[in-house]
């Protein structure tokens, strides 16, 4: 079995470390990391990946690296730029998904570390832009996520 390449987009290394260190023996995965949307776009442009894993919160990178239109958001929040930045940081995974939607080849699994189990309509709304999007229920172990990544097609809304 050929190794499957997974692009992990996170502002830290928690996920990729977890993937790498807990992947079982014989697992054929190559994990790539991107620290923001731009880096992820670059990687996607350089090589194909089998799956993308998106962290949601990016509160450890500089605001200027955050994906999303800060000005409208600031306006939306009544001129509160800081609030707009905080919003972008806390919801960055969604903004990254939106920003990469055009760059992600069709059929590429996109996992976002968000539990949609109580908001299935929300996932449906996001899949309009990114059909391969899947959420991750809280408590899902790494092995389960990897299992999903191995599958060729998404079997359910969330892992």
């Amino acid at each position: 079995m050929s190794a499957r390449t997974v692009l992990v987009v996170e502002d830290g290394t928690e996920y990729i470390e977890a993937f790498r260190r807990l992947a079982g023996a014989g697992e054929h995965f190559e994990f790539l990391r991107a620290g923001d949307a731009q880096e992820a776009r670059r990687i996607l442009a350089e090589r194909p990946v089998d799956a993308i894993f998106l962290d949601v919160t990016f509160d450890r990178i500089a605001p200027e690296r955050l994906e999303g239109a800060i000005e409208p958001l600031t306006e939306r929040f009544g001129g509160d730029r800081r609030r707009a930045e905080r919003h972008l940081a806390s919801q960055q995974g969604f903004y990254v998904a939106a920003a990469l939607a055009d760059a992600i080849p069709r059929g590429t699994r996109v996992f976002i570390a968000f539990d949609f189990s109580s908001e299935p309509e929300r996932l449906e709304a996001l899949r309009k832009r990114l059909p391969e999007l899947e959420g991750m229920r809280e408590g899902t172990p790494i092995s389960r996520v990897l299992d999903r990544m191995r599958e060729s097609r998404p079997m359910s809304d969330s892992v």
Partner: protein, 857 residues
């Protein structure tokens, strides 16, 4: 002197006529002549037997004036007996017996015996019978009937010395109540009250035995021995078998510096012992007192009876006394004075009872049978005479027939339910059978109700056997207070001292244990019962939901998401055969759970604790104490999981650092795997969406157009202006007037926002010198285009002229108007903007759009 015939004839005539007055002294000068004449008269024909005998008897009487020989006495007695004058015959025979009893015939002796019996001179009759019996035995005649007769007389003599119990007279309820009050007061040391009540009981029922016994105890306690003695004597007059009265009086009399008093005391104590042979302390006391009195034999008898059932220690204690009891007795032991006679005439039933007493004391089988017959007769004569069946039970008991004894005592109880002694004896009988101890205790309670003092002692012992120390203490103390010189006073005192010692010995431990127990109970109470749940707190403090939401989000992120991500797989990796994956897994777990050091995150535990403390702190600020650890079903698993992870830290670090020179053990790996897996399972049982629902329930508000219209009216009234009509514009789901939209905001903040919005709208109109024309309300649901989050937008459109933009409202002070609105909107993660009214409806100039996250409706 020999009388001349004429004079003799005159004397005879006079004597015959019974005219003693005419008989001159000269006539008596020759009694033999009178006797001869008397005999001559008797020799006359049968037709004049009676008259002749009468004349002869007169002559003989006259003759006796000057003395008579025994032959003349006997002859005169014959004549009298023939005439049926047994009285004179007896007198004459009695005179003859004094002169020479051997001259009396057996019939004469019998006559004398009958005469004595008739006169109630039993001892005299016995003497005559005994002489008769001797005479008959000499002649070889049957004398058995005489022995029986003598025995009967002896019994009657002994019975005369026994005091009859008073006729049964049940005390009225008021008297019994007064006695009960008196006994309670006495036990509590309220002596004046005790006296008042016992005196009342006795006024109502003067022969109330239990009241008299209580009075005796009271007088003893108040150191009035004379009065106490009087009370006890009165009690014994009413009931000679009253055990407590016997013992109480015996003790009092023994203390008196009076020989007769001491003698009586000894007798009373012996009576008490005979009633209650099982009260061994009395035997010992009796032995000691007899020894002190100087009667070694009696003292020895009682001492040996005591030692028969004594323990080794008790025998050792009494060895010196036994050895000392060797001195011969000097002096007479006087018969104890007779007990005070009953003031009331003995009834027939009581007579039989006394007879039975005597037979019982004899002890031989025939006597016991006789006793039972008398008692049965007593019961037949007076079924209410309880002493009869009571004594019968004692007889049956002596015979070993407990069933009959019990039956008899139950008859006694029925005969007189107010008689405490019957209950006492029944309870004592039942207590001899261990299997009936509960029944015995029940009867003791009845005795207690009937006024028995002794009952308190036995009930106290029963409580002690059950382990009910506090009850035992109360009862034994009551007994001791009511009967300070009672038969069981010494035993009660020892028991109370022992209880007190135990109580003191345990006290320190008890205090410590109580403190520990209290602390433990308090801790348990605090732990499991006190404190609020998260949901319960938010239901009452909905305003805290906005502040609590990010804390819950942090907890979900760190514990549920990241914890769930690595824990289960990490646990599985710890049990792998290869060392490298094990080390990698352990190392990862250490970093994630406990922190990666200075450069890294705080770790799952630290992050979770911070979030939990934050939530608890929020509650504390609102005056509530949360018990998330033990009471909250959503948070409790988190605490449990954290605890499991804390315990496994050392093992994980050892596994992570294991190497060729520092191998880890399979046991450690298994243990670590188990702990980590437990934590994973605990975290998995927590539902993040459920926590969101709790938050939404607390801070979720369904939009109601009618509510907004009502608010508008109120605000207009407050502003003293006319409320414009609030037009519902498109976007209300479900039609105008109702909307199934819900927003995440607290009702209070929602109202504040709209108050300000309405007030500003009305103010704008007034500044322009006109009332606000139109106000429109629109609401719609939507989603954030990027995040997909559900939002609700509510627009307030107006037709007021003037410029109002975002910059304008942004710069308003936060403490009023727009400033307040902005702050509240921000707090609830909402947004507000000024929108063009164009999409809304014609005629409106602008719209204020309020955007808030949607809540689950």
């Amino acid at each position: 002197m020999i009388l001349r015939p004429a004079l003799l004839a005159f004397c005879v005539a006079s004597a015959s006529a019974g005219d003693e007055a005419r008989v001159a002294d000269a006539c008596y000068g020759d009694p033999s002549a009178l006797v001869r004449e008397a005999e001559d008269r008797l020799q006359m024909g049968p037709g004049s037997d009676r008259e002749a005998r009468e004349q002869a008897r007169q002559l003989y009487r006259s003759a006796r004036r000057q003395g008579a020989s025994i032959a003349e006495l006997l002859r005169a007695a014959d004549l009298a007996e023939t005439d049926g004058d047994l009285e004179e015959a007896g007198d004459l025979l009695s005179r003859a017996a004094e002169m020479d009893p051997s001259r009396l015939a057996a019939s004469d002796l019998l006559l004398l015996a009958f005469r004595a019996e008739g006169r109630g001179r039993r001892r005299e009759a016995i003497a005559e019978y005994e002489e008769l019996r001797r005479r008959l035995r000499t002649t070889g005649d049957d004398a058995a009937w005489i022995s029986a007769r003598i025995d009967q007389l002896e019994v009657e003599i002994e019975a005369d010395g026994i005091v009859s119990p008073a006729p049964p007279l049940a005390p009225p309820p008021e008297a019994r109540l007064a006695l009960a009050e008196s006994q309670r007061a006495l036990a509590s040391g309220r002596l004046r009250e005790a006296r008042g009540n016992v005196e009342l009981a006795l006024r109502l029922s003067p022969s109330y035995v239990e009241a008299l016994v209580t009075l005796g105890a009271l007088e003893t306690r108040e150191k009035r021995p004379s009065q106490a003695i009087r009370a006890y004597r009165s009690a014994l007059k009413a009931d000679p078998q009253r055990f407590e009265a016997l013992v109480g009086l015996a003790h009092l009399l023994w203390s008196a510096p009076d020989r007769r008093a001491k003698e009586e005391s000894l007798a009373l104590l012996d009576r008490a012992v005979s009633l209650r042979p099982e009260v061994r302390s009395l035997l010992r006391t009796s032995a000691a007192r007899w020894a002190e009195w100087g009667d070694a034999q009696r003292a020895l008898e009682r001492l040996d009876a005591y030692r028969k059932g004594a323990t080794e220690a008790e025998r050792r204690e009494t060895d010196p006394l036994r050895e000392a009891l060797t001195r011969p007795v000097r002096g007479e032991i006087e018969e104890p004075p007779e007990a005070a006679a009953a003031t009331e005439a003995p009834t027939a039933a009581s007579e039989h009872w006394r007879m039975a007493q005597v037979y019982l004391q004899r002890g031989d089988p025939a006597s016991i049978d006789a006793a039972l017959l008398h008692l049965a007769e007593a019961e037949r004569i007076d079924p209410r005479f309880a002493p009869a069946p009571e004594l019968a039970s004692a007889i049956y008991e002596k015979r070993g027939d407990r069933a009959a004894a019990e039956t008899a005592l139950r008859r006694a109880v029925r005969a007189d339910p107010s008689r405490a002694s019957s209950y006492e004896r029944l309870a004592t009988l039942l207590s001899r059978d261990r299997a009936r101890s509960l029944e015995a205790e029940s009867v003791w309670r009845q005795a207690d109700e009937a006024g028995s003092t002794e009952a308190a002692f036995y009930l106290g012992e029963a409580a002690l056997r059950r382990g009910d120390r506090s009850r035992a203490r109360v009862l034994l103390a009551r007994y001791r207070a009511q009967s300070p010189d009672g038969a069981h006073a010494e035993t009660a005192t020892r028991a109370l001292e022992s209880l007190e010692r135990s109580r003191r010995a345990w006290r320190t431990g008890e205090i410590a244990l109580a403190a520990l127990g209290l602390a433990a109970a308090g801790a348990a109470l605090y732990r499991y019962r006190l404190g609020r749940t998260f949901a319960g707190w938010l239901a009452e403090r909905e305003s805290a939901a906005a502040a609590a939401r990010p804390l819950v989000g942090r907890l979900r992120h760190e514990v549920l998401k990241h914890g769930g991500l690595v824990l289960s797989d990490g646990a599985a990796a710890l049990e792998r055969d290869e060392a490298s994956p094990r080390r990698e897994a352990a190392s990862l777990l250490v970093e994630r759970i406990y922190g990666a050091g200075a450069a890294g995150s705080e770790g799952l535990i630290a992050e979770a604790v911070a979030a939990l403390r934050g939530i608890e702190g929020l509650a504390k600020e609102s005056g509530a104490r949360l018990n998330l650890r033990y009471r909250d079903p959503n948070f409790s698993p988190v605490f449990q999981g954290l605890e499991s992870l804390r315990r496994v830290e050392r093992d994980l670090r050892r596994i992570a650092g294991a190497g060729p020179g520092n191998p880890d053990s399979p046991r450690r790996r298994r243990r670590a795997a188990v702990s980590v897996r437990v934590a994973a399972e605990r975290f998995q049982s927590v539902s993040g969406p459920e926590l969101d629902r709790i938050l939404d329930r607390a801070a979720g508000l369904a939009l109601r157009a009618e509510w907004l219209r009502d608010l508008l009216s109120r605000v207009a009234a407050e502003k003293r202006c006319t409320a414009p009509v609030l037009e519902l514009l498109g976007g209300w789901n479900g039609g105008p007037g109702s909307a199934r939209l819900a927003v995440r905001i607290t009702p209070g903040d929602w109202e504040t926002i709209w108050r300000n919005l309405f007030a500003n709208a009305l103010l704008a109109g007034s500044r322009e010198g006109r009332a606000v024309g139109r106000l429109g309300l629109a609401a719609e649901s939507g989603r954030d285009p990027i995040t997909g989050q559900a939002l609700v937008r509510v627009t307030l459109a107006d037709d007021a002229p003037g410029e109002l933009d975002g910059e304008t409202i942004r710069n308003r002070p936060a403490d009023r108007g727009w400033g307040v609105v902005l702050e509240l909107v921000r707090r609830h993660d909402g947004a507000i903007r000024i929108a063009s009214p164009a999409p809304l409806a014609a005629g409106f100039r602008k719209g204020i759009v309020l955007e808030l996250p949607a809540a689950s409706a």
